[in-house]
Symmetry: C2
Subunit: 697 residues, 2 copies
């Protein structure tokens, strides 16, 4: 990252002098911050700045100043004063040498005061001060006991959490504290008038104290800038993200909350996937995943063993594991025989392996070792304890198994409450995460595995045929009326020119041209009206099918010319009629934040009723296009279903990949819909039979 930004953030997280601006009377936010700084045990120099140079109530040891210039050597300024004084304070901080200010003060863009925020940022630039905030909840760094925040104090740990919402930050810290999950660094960045996700992610990706990055987002300012930083961070260490505002209600609220529009959810999903980011549905799930990623190695495959001392909870874990695409496979006969060597008939040797009353620490260890050393990729150790069971001994058995097979993840579910509190503590200190239920342990393991698969896909894409834009054989982008689709003959010519598969066709301005073209095209033929005023051609009788000869073509042309004589009739497209194709939709759109996006799905009811379409950031290569197709619910229809032939998936994938490149090569294309593309049986390719291209950039 840029060296100066790194230096700024180093001083943000490791300041020798922190100055808190604002009233330090009891109950005021600046007072709360000083209280937290002192209680958490910050060991640097802490000073307060306010007009009367009041020392904070109850903290006479904290030096106070009327202005900052006289202090000198400030590393971090924390602003918690009314909005109208923020600009002055930033100037003061800059004059006192502070390279960065955390602006907790609210009353800016989030409250409609966009101009005030713009001025604050300008003043900060002028004063050489970078900003976190405004309208944020502060920062923490557990390594040096820095807590310039009003949120609950973080325990030390390996997770670093950056959050757009200060309140979500507080909720996560509170929940994490209850579960004993610790943090390295915490940043609530609020309105991100200056520093935001890109700088913070880049810093944390290189931060040796950070093992996992957690991220809470409601919107992004610039998706195309964020994406490469996200991808780099996610390749360096696991990144777990919540994107709020998934549904319409959520999106509405996200809009009104931050004064910025939330991007469409599917595009976010595509961006996270591309970057290798794991998405969490809510704060509890995010904490589960952070705990798992912070402590567990990645599973090499999807085969998971469940070892339990009680059937029910083991079954619930197996149910959920299978739902999530893990494989809770039964032990092989050989493995079963190995288990039976030391387990009596009362133990059920399926998956789960139910140890019943034979669930001693030694047996947990032996069973987990035997399964993980023989073909299982991960395990869930379930112990449902009674007040009379020595859960500590069981925990020791689980830890011993992990030590014996350190490369494979074991998640623990020790239920519940007081009777297992000590055992859970022991497991957590040993680096084995404990989940409240087998279902949640299964989800964590599934996401560990998914990250590996996303990374493998990214490596494959980097090795394989590059999706990088390269010049296409068409001299110039098509031009169309602003806001409207370009005429169909030009659209077809363009697509043909860039090497996309179209049926053989001719554009004919007269019946005579059409009759002549007839001889050069394979019949049967289809004739389609060309008119800028006719959009839904079929519905308006603008398409004539099954034309076998020149006479029929001539007559059809005349009919169209008559029918559309009042509608700027420009002629007709005469094309080979494609038979036996499966209808597919391929589309290209530009997301305001993440840029070009490619969509593919089966036509008709599949996309319209079931929203069964795959969305990815463009461009994609053929391998990723195939992956898009494989993920569709309707995928079996492409592979050959109920006697219908397998379709030419490779040709379709090539088409999708090429269309996705157009977005990069031709920035003038705003939107493109190929609907339908007809996919023919294997080896026979695909044909685009309807084209709609919007320009306007």
């Amino acid at each position: 990252m840029e060296q100066d930004v790194k230096m700024v953030l180093d001083r943000l997280f490791y300041p020798r002098t922190v100055a808190v601006f604002g009233s330090v009377k009891e109950g005021k936010i600046a007072h709360q911050i000083v209280t937290q700084m002192v209680r958490v045990g910050y060991s640097g120099r802490l000073v307060a700045v306010n007009p009367k140079a009041d020392s904070p109530d109850g903290f006479p040891q904290v030096a106070a100043f009327a202005g900052a210039r006289s202090i000198g050597g400030i590393d971090l300024a924390v602003l918690a004063l009314p909005a109208q004084f923020a600009e002055g304070a930033v100037r003061e901080a800059g004059a006192a040498g502070a390279p960065v200010a955390v602006v907790i003060t609210s009353g800016f863009a989030e409250a409609g005061n966009v101009e005030g925020e713009r001025r604050l940022a300008a003043v900060a630039r002028e004063a050489g001060v970078r900003l976190i905030g405004p309208n944020c909840a502060g920062i923490m760094n557990t390594a040096n006991r820095l807590s310039a925040s009003i949120e609950p104090r973080a325990l030390p740990g390996r997770v670093s959490f950056i959050t757009q919402s200060g309140a979500v930050g507080g909720a996560v810290l509170g929940l994490a504290g209850e579960r004993g999950i610790g943090f390295a660094k915490f940043v609530s960045y609020g309105n991100r008038a200056d520093l935001g996700e890109p700088e913070l992610l880049e810093y944390l990706a290189a931060d040796p104290e950070t093992g996992v990055i957690a991220l809470y987002l409601e919107s992004v300012a610039d998706g195309q800038r964020l994406l490469p930083v996200l991808a780099a961070a996610a390749s360096a260490k696991p990144v777990v993200a919540i994107k709020a505002g998934r549904t319409t209600a959520g999106r509405r609220a996200a809009g009104s909350h931050t004064g910025s529009l939330a991007g469409a959810d599917e595009v976010f999903a595509a961006a996270f996937r591309r970057a290798g980011v794991i998405r969490a549905a809510g704060v509890e799930e995010m904490l589960d995943l952070c705990d798992a990623f912070a402590h567990l190695p990645a599973p090499a495959g999807r085969k998971v063993a469940i070892v339990t001392n009680s059937g029910g909870p083991g079954i619930l874990a197996a149910d959920r594991a299978e739902e999530l695409g893990l494989e809770p496979a039964e032990p092989t006969p050989e493995l079963r025989a190995g288990l039976r060597d030391f387990l009596s008939e009362r133990c059920a040797l399926g998956n789960p392996v139910d140890l019943t009353v034979e669930g001693t620490g030694a047996n947990y260890e032996r069973v987990l070792r035997l399964l993980l050393e023989n073909s299982y990729d991960a395990a869930i150790a379930v112990n449902v304890a009674t007040p009379f069971l020595d859960s500590l001994e069981l925990a020791r058995g689980v830890i011993a198994a992990r030590d014996a097979v350190p490369g494979k993840p074991i998640a623990a579910v020790f239920a519940a409450g007081q009777v297992v509190a000590k055992a859970v503590g022991l497991l957590q200190r040993a680096g084995i995460p404990c989940f409240p239920s087998g279902e949640r342990a299964a989800l964590a393991l599934a996401r560990l595995r998914e990250r590996e698969e996303l990374r493998a896909a990214a490596r494959r894409a980097a090795r394989g045929p590059l999706p990088k834009p390269r010049p296409l054989p068409w001299p110039s982008p098509p031009a169309g009326p602003a806001g409207g689709p370009i005429p169909e003959p030009e659209g077809w010519a363009f697509l043909g020119g860039v090497g996309l598969p179209l049926p053989a066709h001719r554009w004919c301005r007269t019946a005579e041209e059409a009759a002549q073209a007839c001889g050069q095209l394979p019949s049967p033929l289809v004739l389609k009206v060309v008119s800028p005023q006719v959009v839904h051609k079929s519905d308006r009788g603008g398409v004539v099918l099954n034309l076998q000869d020149a006479a029929a073509v001539r007559q059809a042309f005349a009919e169209l010319a008559g029918r559309f004589s009042g509608s700027s009739f420009r002629g007709a497209l005469l094309a080979e009629q494609v038979a036996g194709g499966l209808e597919v939709i391929v589309g290209l759109k530009r997301d305001p934040s993440f840029g070009p996006v490619i969509l593919a799905g089966l036509g008709g009811v599949w996309t319209e009723l079931l929203h069964d379409a795959a969305v990815r950031l463009a461009p994609v290569d053929e391998a990723e296009a195939l992956e898009m197709l494989d993920g569709l619910k309707s995928a079996p229809l492409l592979s050959g279903y109920r006697g219908s032939p397998p379709r030419d998936r490779r040709a379709l994938a090539a088409l999708i990949a090429r269309v996705s490149l157009l977005a990069v090569e031709y920035p003038g294309i705003a939107e493109l819909d190929l609907n339908p593309v007809l996919v023919l049986p294997e080896g026979r390719g695909a044909r685009i039979v309807d084209v709609r291209i919007l320009t306007g950039f």
Copy 2:
């Protein structure tokens, strides 16, 4: 319920004398039970029974006996001795007057010892002793401090929990203890050699101390006996159930765990729906729902308001609420104006209403009241606290709002941990459940609403045209070869005879008969081979379509006769060819546990790829059949989609209802598939065009 069973269960839960059978040396299960009984504070008479009349280690005050006969007046025997001594102990208990024994002892059917369990049950019957267990984890009744169990002690409360798995019972009690959720009664019934869900549900439905019933099931012994009891219980009070073994892995494990097969998951879902039982996905969800049902009134509709002091968590709640079918609608302009009267511009007045720093107790109260008194059916109050916020004051505001609008449910989300512990305690004592996240609060409210909707459907069904079996106008059930389908002519005749819609048709044994029948039927016609050896007629060229006259029919018959001369050719069905119908599948099956089941869905890919079929217990009435159709993903195809006409849904619903009656009227029908049924445009009915009936009962 039967008076004697009620008396037995009264003595089970309210015993004056409890005798614990088994070794009471430290570490033994009987000793653990005595320990728990004493610690929890059971105030009745507690005695120990073991061969040497040893008093329990550390409990000299507990009298001990070598045999039970000399004790007299035992109400409850608790058996925790080796399996081989269980029969003797049951005899002793019976002789000492015990009407019921809780058999914690394992080593019976769950370990393959089915015969031992059968003998134990027989001995108990002879001795006049009813059994809970064997292989169970005991019982609790918090009202009289009875805890004859080794599981964590339950706090007192309004939820009664009966569980097939003792371990799940323990896990739930442990988790509930952490969250402060209390129980009235707890029963782990293990292998249910005698008393099981039906008796316990009936008792708890009438138990004034039980407000909510929670149920954990892996399999049922007799679904048709359970169903009416479940329905009666769920009509008396909320019943929340987990059914484990949902997926194949889970089912496999459920099978091996209890020695009994788990029923198919869709049938369970249908049975729960019919009974009005709310299903929970796991133990945390079950506790969330129990807490909600125990304390909250039912919402009258789906409109939910979210009131928060922080955007992010409010948005996550709104996302989830919408996903679950609740309606987090924006406030009307009038309501917004009412809110703006006392809230500044910095508060966002959408849904969520984000109070930001104006989230005082008074404002929570005013906003919640205003929204709930004006068109909202339920609310979620979110407070994300900092260590410096007085959450107790906010809790008081929420409680005041609830007191002002007591008929509408308010769920609270106070996050998180220590900073809100006191406020959460205050809310819980006031009867307002607190959830760990807005997402979980939303789920609880959604399920509260769903129970109302299930009850409304049940009331409507009870009022409306009865689905009760009534004689159908066909004298006798069709007979077919055991295990095979009955011949198609008989099948068609039967369906026609019971009033189901078929195309006009004739069964013809010769070409001559076919040619003659031709004149009596509307053309075009279709001719189908009839032969017990030809199942997939179309695939084998056994169907000829588009026959317009007698000559064509005669020729087609001759062709079929020739083509199938080697395959027991019996003739052909000549039928009116139905055009323009939408293909639907209607089927009937018998579940080994719950009995007849009716299925309906759209044909082809919808059922095969998407499993888009509705399953209900048979019979159903027309209203329920319409509800089945409305719930399909493919429902829009029936209502008229993309220019295709609306279909005759009422005719299809009538057909489904009538088919569902056949299961009741004709026990000889094992399975019936109508595939396809063609549904014509509105007003024109539906026609069954392919029939497959299996007999064999």
